[in-house]
Symmetry: C2
Subunit: 410 residues, 2 copies
């Protein structure tokens, strides 16, 4: 199509997706790269991993009352914890990620500057760990579908216990995360309002939407339709690869925008070749049971249901004490910021700023080079203000051009 009608948005997203971005997005789609988080999270690491550390928590009592026994959380760290244990940042991965998925945000000069900060990246509850005695996922525990369902608040509680009981950290500079990790970050702000100075949820939700319910139910149904699903008792050697790959691609169809898919694929044949060659491969990168449990956590979520808020989202938002830097993407078709309460939280939290990533790649546009640059600029500025004891944020807290009755800024 001609440039006149090239599907470009307003503002910062107007430039064409260049070749490197196209390649990175494609790698994210396939789930092969660390550098770019995929839809709702990142793929497993293939390189540059830090040593895995383990924290034994014993029993983990869930909000439902169920108990996961013998919980051993795993995590990696970057940088050095200072003497008074006051320079720690928690960085939480997305749905398809693990402890390695957000390493691209951490390092000298990056958003999470490891020359100043000690960055902790856990495996969330529900991720099979490499620790042979870990029991934090349905598959790893051997319980399969008898593993209790858990929620985002349970993930956050496990992280809290890990930080306090194993790392003896009583205060964080910041909590951040992308997608499912962004959801967890916002929950952190409500669950433990005094525990951190700043919370930086990237493409989050405040609560699930009926569309996210609808999408992931289709994905789970596709997995369970695979004859190899076996009611969840499939063997490690012969998992439901096709069903899982289809389920992930249902998510991908929303997680990558129409524009980014047009950039990645020349024609219909390209799309069908992608399915033919990668469906089972995608199914191999993700454990079906564990992924299903994590999607249940997402579609059940609502920060307003945190006691004592009893469904009152505005009250939950008002309770947040940390500086809240919300980075949604108004082109996000998977976790739409309007319907999922993110904009409402921004309006009612005492000290919040919205930075719309405004990226035409949609949900997965959270990790394009342009987005990573914007994220780094905003995060570094905020953290410097925290370090200097200066109040608030640089720039308007909610962009002046934001139309609250609208989905996106004009």
């Amino acid at each position: 199509m001609g440039h006149l009608f090239a599907p470009h948005p307003r503002g910062g997203g107007k430039q064409r997706l260049r070749h490197d971005v196209k390649r990175l997005l494609y790698q994210a789609l396939v789930g092969m790269t660390l550098a770019v988080a995929t839809a709702a999270g990142s793929s497993p690491a293939t390189a540059q991993t830090q040593p895995v550390q383990t924290c034994a928590l014993g029993n983990l009592r869930l909000e439902s009352g169920a108990v996961i026994p013998n919980v051993r959380m795993t995590y990696i760290t970057h940088g050095t914890l200072n003497a008074d244990r006051s320079n720690a940042i928690l960085s939480i991965h997305g749905l398809r990620g693990n402890r390695d998925a957000q390493t691209f945000l951490a390092g000298p000069g990056r958003a999470l500057d490891t020359e100043r900060y000690f960055v902790i990246q856990p495996d969330t509850l529900g991720v099979a760990s490499t620790d042979p005695s870990a029991t934090t996922s349905p598959t790893r525990s051997g319980m399969n579908m008898n593993f209790p369902r858990f929620g985002i608040r349970d993930m956050v509680q496990a992280e809290y216990r890990m930080l306090t009981e194993c790392l003896n950290i009583r205060h964080l500079v910041a909590v951040t995360g992308i997608s499912m990790g962004g959801i967890g970050s916002l929950q952190w702000a409500v669950s433990y309002p005094d525990f951190m100075d700043a919370v930086i949820p990237i493409v989050p939700q405040a609560h699930a939407t009926r569309q996210t319910n609808f999408i992931w139910e289709a994905a789970r149904q596709a997995i369970m339709l695979d004859p190899k699903w076996q009611e969840g008792d499939y063997s490690a050697n012969d998992p439901p690869r096709r069903g899982t790959g289809i389920g992930i691609n249902i998510q991908n169809a929303f997680g990558f925008s129409a524009e980014s898919l047009a950039e990645m694929f020349q024609d219909r044949d390209g799309v069908e070749r992608f399915y033919a060659t990668t469906t089972e491969q995608l199914g191999n990168t993700t454990d079906a049971r564990d992924w299903i449990y994590r999607t249940w956590a997402i579609v059940d979520h609502d920060i307003a249901k945190t006691p004592p808020f009893n469904g009152d989202l505005r009250a939950a938002a008002r309770s947040i004490k940390a500086r809240l830097l919300l980075m949604p993407n108004c082109f996000d078709q998977l976790l739409t910021p309007g319907e999922s309460g993110v904009m409402e939280v921004a309006a009612f939290a005492p000290n919040a700023k919205v930075v719309d990533l405004d990226d035409i790649a949609g949900h997965s546009g959270n990790s394009t080079p342009r987005s990573v640059t914007i994220i780094a600029a905003e995060v570094r500025d905020l953290l410097q203000r925290v370090a200097d004891g200066r109040p608030g944020f640089n720039g308007p807290r909610i962009p002046r051009h934001w139309n609250r009755e609208d989905r996106c800024p004009n």
Copy 2:
């Protein structure tokens, strides 16, 4: 969520979806109603059907060179053909529809006023007909997956032959259609530029997008994953209902907007109950093989590939002689008007007008009471101008506020 943040768009779509609209959308989702076209088309009729008529076309040679033998097209009509056979309008149904699906547009005082016009509603190629000798679909022909693949141009050619060979109609007042029928309408304008005065594609595409490829490939994969699929040779009594229902719901997740799904479902349990109770029912309303073939036609489509345009969309658009009233919906997440060339066609066709339906219900918002009222007003005005021999359209041909580099008007 509070009204301040209710997810309402600009302009005409600002009012809340009221209860009746919610109910109609829900019925459309389930596929049980004639009154509201579902995503990419309408569900089979349950009442008020006209007598089915049949047109024997003998062999139908497809663009691919393959031949469908003994083609018997079926259709219904509304109103009366005048003596000089000059008052006919062709109205083409969407992906899940059949000859009855667009009856809600036809009638005295409706968009297609049956006191003046003779409205012809065919079963497109690929729809199992009630005619016992029909052979126009994989299932009806008994050929199952050996039936040749056909395209949108083949559907249009079959309709052209039906009109000319059986009804002796040499000119139409208008061709219109919704979704897949809108795609067919636009193809009519390019294939037979002298055959009609007006073409009115509603939520169409000029060509498939990589996103539509991606969505329907996921849907087809889900169907084929169902153990009852049997390589397409399933029995009529035991079809792959679950896979088909999941496939249709993958489409529904895009065909209904985040906002409309939020209106239809109270909570996650509601969504999961919907799947539990309707997945097989949805699979029962749609023949899997025939639906798959029609989705192949959509994802293969490009009006620019009509000979002799050789991929040049602008040249194809410039060749259109009819008055072209394009009615996309900028909130459409299934057939996005920007990426699918609709806006480019609007700019290069000699006599085109765009009316954005601007409906927050997304693709399926083509048939809400509000949209039907807008469609009727625009269509009736256009047809009156044709009848009076007046040029052009009322109102700006492309809304003045349309920003061509953008997806939606501001």
